[in-house]
């Protein structure tokens, strides 16, 4: 199955990726998408993820055509 994988903020800088497409076996999880897209780079412990723009967990299952996103803790608004 084909997946779109996006990276934001420091994770984009760290992986050298903003957006990529990967082919994964079915079934697969969000963590599998990370490994395929990054070449199994180490994932920072505080990494957050989303499936089709909804917060998800690394062990959540993914489906063909999903958009998977990885990003660091959010810092919107103001203090």
């Amino acid at each position: 199955m084909q997946l779109k994988v996006k990276f934001f903020a420091s994770l984009s800088e760290q992986t050298g990726l903003a957006e990529t497409t990967v082919n994964a076996d079915n079934p697969a999880t969000v963590l599998d998408a990370w490994k395929l897209a990054t070449g199994d780079q180490t994932m920072p412990v505080n990494t957050l993820c989303a499936i089709n723009m909804a917060y998800a967990h690394l062990d959540d299952s993914i489906s063909d055509g999903d958009e998977i996103a990885f990003f660091p803790p959010v810092t919107g608004g103001c203090t």
């Binding site: 934001f8 903020a9 990003f71 803790p73 608004g77």
Partner: protein
């Protein structure tokens, strides 16, 4: 309900006036608003500018969801979120949240809900430029 992402500077008072002008007169007795503005300091360092990155589709969807949630929890006439992205200078507004209701308690509570939920969950990431270079705010000491 209105949730807007802005790539350039905005005037929060004009945003409030614009919404007010569209509301029927006499329907609301209260408007509570919050404006977050960029500081020129953070965790002990001078901050010269900031770049605010977001995940456009998810961020817009998330702001819409927060407005819908607030509208479901309180009896609101209207609520508003305006949030910047891109390059921001000290003194410029970053975010505006506002809620209109018949009475003040609901307006205050809803306005606070909007900013607290946004801050906790909306996909934005700040990168500051300080005297010693750039840093992501989530990596800054004390954050």
């Amino acid at each position: 309900m209105t949730a807007l992402l802005r790539g350039g500077a905005f005037d929060p008072w004009q945003e409030l006036a614009h919404i007010e002008a569209g509301l029927a007169k006499g329907t609301h007795g209260a408007c509570a608003s919050f404006v977050g503005t960029m500081r020129d300091f953070n965790v002990g360092d001078n901050v010269h500018s900031m770049s605010l990155e977001h995940y456009p589709e998810m961020t817009q969807q998330f702001l819409d969801t927060i407005c819908t949630e607030a509208n479901g929890r309180w009896n609101l006439i209207h609520c508003l979120i305006v949030h910047r992205y891109g390059e921001i200078k000290p003194g410029e507004p970053i975010v505006l949240t506002a809620a209109w209701s018949a009475h003040r308690a609901e307006a205050f509570d809803a306005c606070r809900y909007l900013i607290e939920e946004l801050k906790a969950r909306a996909p934005f990431w700040k990168k500051e430029t300080t005297d010693t270079g750039e840093r992501w705010v989530h990596d800054a000491p004390g954050e």
